[in-house]
């Protein structure tokens, strides 16, 4: 009769093969999904192959990715933010209108807009805690409120539905250099948003996997009651996440403002779902507690590649959405399949 005690170890565990270890990296599924989409378009769309053109794809992916990162973090923390799309426009409108209305230095507008964007995030978090409503509803409220404010305030201040021009206000050039510069390497043209995107991805990924706050985010999303019971400040963690969404919305808003010099009041509506889609395609659970930042960024890349790839391939644009739907589900299936294989090893 076996007399092995548990102390001697559990002989039932087989060593995991090296490739299984690789597969268990959470973003690997999204990576393989992204590669599949990439290979597909490389095959069918000749302009896709030109390295110079990847700047266009990366630009679109980066503007989605900059928001997909905080939205994914928030989803891992168990909450949604439906106001993420319009908050970008709010930030841009606020910066331009503050500077223009009182003829201030552009930077004053930029900084006050940051305060506003963080304030919106904080407000979302506060309302969530106070009302104990699901964040879907709370941020839906913020979404509508901001949408109305964007339109009404702009009409009041600027008299139209476009933000006033600020190109000739002091500080414009330095702000544009910070938020909307670009470089060309050979024929490859890269916008600064790519840098923002990469930095945000790395910072958020490190925070999630290697910092204490990451542990708190995972726990708050996985089981809020349990997290609170062992002393995790779940409320503050979540408010912090909403404010991070606010910060990224501000950053993207500033880029939009200084890259295009003016913004329309109805921009950004609907983008909140593209961010959520990117996060989910990248493997984040809608129910919270699981996901990866790198995955969300890859989700943004998949979305960007698919969207432009269809154009590059010259497919009938009538079917655009159909292709998009098939590709998204396809990429997610690959992602899920890979993760399941990983779990099986």
């Amino acid at each position: 009769m076996t007399t092995a005690t548990a102390d001697e170890g559990d002989g039932r565990v087989a060593a995991r093969p090296a490739y299984a270890r690789l597969l268990s990296f959470p973003a690997i599924g999204a990576l393989i999904g992204a590669i599949a989409v990439f290979v597909l378009f490389m095959a069918v769309a000749p302009p896709f192959r030109a390295i110079d053109n990847s700047g266009t794809i990366l630009y679109q992916a980066s503007t989605i990715g900059m928001m997909a990162v905080p939205v994914a973090l928030l989803m891992i923390g168990g909450e949604f933010d439906l106001s993420a799309g319009v908050a970008v426009t709010t930030a841009a409108l606020a910066a331009s209108m503050i500077a223009w209305q009182w003829s201030l230095n552009v930077w004053v507008g930029v900084l006050l807009s940051l305060v506003l964007a963080l304030g919106i995030g904080w407000f979302n978090g506060w309302l969530l805690q106070r009302t104990k409503l699901p964040s879907f509803l709370v941020t839906l409220g913020t979404f509508f409120i901001l949408q109305g404010c964007n339109l009404a305030v702009t009409k009041l201040v600027a008299g139209g539905v476009t933000s006033p021009r600020i190109t000739d206000i002091d500080g414009y050039d330095s702000a544009a250099a910070v938020f909307a510069s670009d470089i060309s390497i050979g024929g490859l043209h890269l916008e600064i948003t790519l840098l923002f995107w990469l930095v945000l991805t790395v910072v958020a990924a490190v925070a999630l996997t290697r910092l204490r706050i990451g542990n708190w985010i995972l726990a708050s999303g996985g089981d809020e009651a349990s997290a609170r019971a062992v002393g995790v400040p779940a409320a503050r963690t979540k408010t912090g996440l909403f404010m991070f969404v606010g910060f990224c919305a501000w950053l993207l808003g500033m880029h939009t403002l200084f890259n295009f010099d003016a913004v329309q009041t109805n921009m950004g509506i609907g983008n909140e779902f593209i961010y959520i889609i990117a996060a989910v395609v990248g493997g984040c659970l809608l129910t919270g507690g699981y996901g990866s930042v790198a995955g969300a960024s890859l989700g943004a890349l998949i979305y960007g590649m698919t969207n432009l790839g269809i154009t590059y391939a010259g497919w009938n644009p009538d079917w655009l959405k159909t292709f998009l739907g098939v590709m998204l589900v396809g990429a997610t299936l690959i992602n899920t399949f890979v993760r399941r294989q990983a779990a099986k090893r």
Binding site: G9, S24, R212, N215, L218, A219, V230
Partner: protein
């Protein structure tokens, strides 16, 4: 049936050394809507003592400890912590006051890995809040091994562990992080004989280190092995409170089972046996 006084004696105990009361409940009660789960509870938790709370299902044991752990607020009476009337607003406040709890329903995040759960809320971190992952894994592993639990892959999510293994993670964590008072809600219910033994040993060790222990169990044998003081709840009220010296295992079992029912059952079962 019992000869013990119905109220805790307030003076120092004869027999044991003088101990300090950390938590005192005075006529505490709690209602969930139209259900009055607890009523008129008087209880002292002292340093260096194991207070066993026993009782039927639904008697209010978990409710009682959730009040002390800051998870629920009480609706009647008052709770004194270190002599101060206290209402905990959150479990964090209870933890800060030195009260650590292992819940019956566990309080683990199922999708998080074992080591992350072990250190949740008490992460070891270096500069900039960087987690000391290797060290944390190593500690979690050795603490679990001490309880006789070997989890080969600490990166596995807690949800994939067996019921008892999960329980052990929660207990090992509470014990490792120490406190002035440890509250354990049915820690041995899901455990095997050996693991139960280890938990009981830990309880004794914690008591001897001067901690106050509140130990909730259905098992009078376990309670009698380690308890200094026994409180039996019935329908949300204290039906028996006794010190170890004033009660026997048989009395305790009898009180819990509602008199002689158990012995009757045992006979009945024996008769039924083929």
């Amino acid at each position: 049936m019992s000869t013990a006084a119905r109220r805790p004696t307030d003076g120092p105990d004869g027999g044991t050394s003088v101990t300090e009361t950390v938590i005192r409940l005075e006529d505490v009660g709690k209602s969930y809507g139209n259900v009055r789960a607890l009523h008129g509870i008087n209880l002292d938790v002292r340093q260096g003592e194991v207070t066993c709370v026993l009782g039927d299902n639904g008697a209010g044991k978990s409710t009682l400890i959730k009040i002390m752990a800051g998870l629920h607020d009480y609706t009647e009476g008052r709770m004194l912590v270190h002599g101060q009337v206290t209402h905990f607003g959150s479990p964090r406040q209870a933890l800060d006051a030195g009260i650590a709890t292992v819940y019956q329903d566990l309080a683990l995040a199922p999708l998080m890995s074992v080591w992350r759960n072990f250190f949740l809320g008490k992460e070891l971190h270096g500069p900039l809040g960087m987690l000391r992952v290797a060290q944390m894994k190593q500690i979690a592993d050795s603490e679990l091994r001490k309880m006789g639990i070997v989890i080969p892959d600490l990166d596995r999510p807690v949800g994939a562990l067996s019921g008892g293994q999960r329980q052990c993670v929660a207990i090992a964590r509470a014990i490792y992080f120490g406190a002035k008072v440890i509250i354990l809600d049915e820690p041995t219910a899901a455990l095997g004989v050996k693991q139960s033994g280890v938990v009981l040993k830990y309880i004794v060790k914690a008591r001897d280190a001067g901690l106050g222990v509140v130990f909730i169990t259905h098992n009078p044998h376990h309670a009698f092995l380690v308890g200094n003081r026994f409180v039996v709840l019935k329908l949300g009220e204290v039906s028996l409170e006794a010190k170890r010296d004033h009660i026997t295992l048989e009395q305790l079992t009898g009180e819990m089972a509602g008199g002689d029912e158990l012995t009757a059952l045992e006979h009945e079962l024996r008769d039924l046996h083929p």
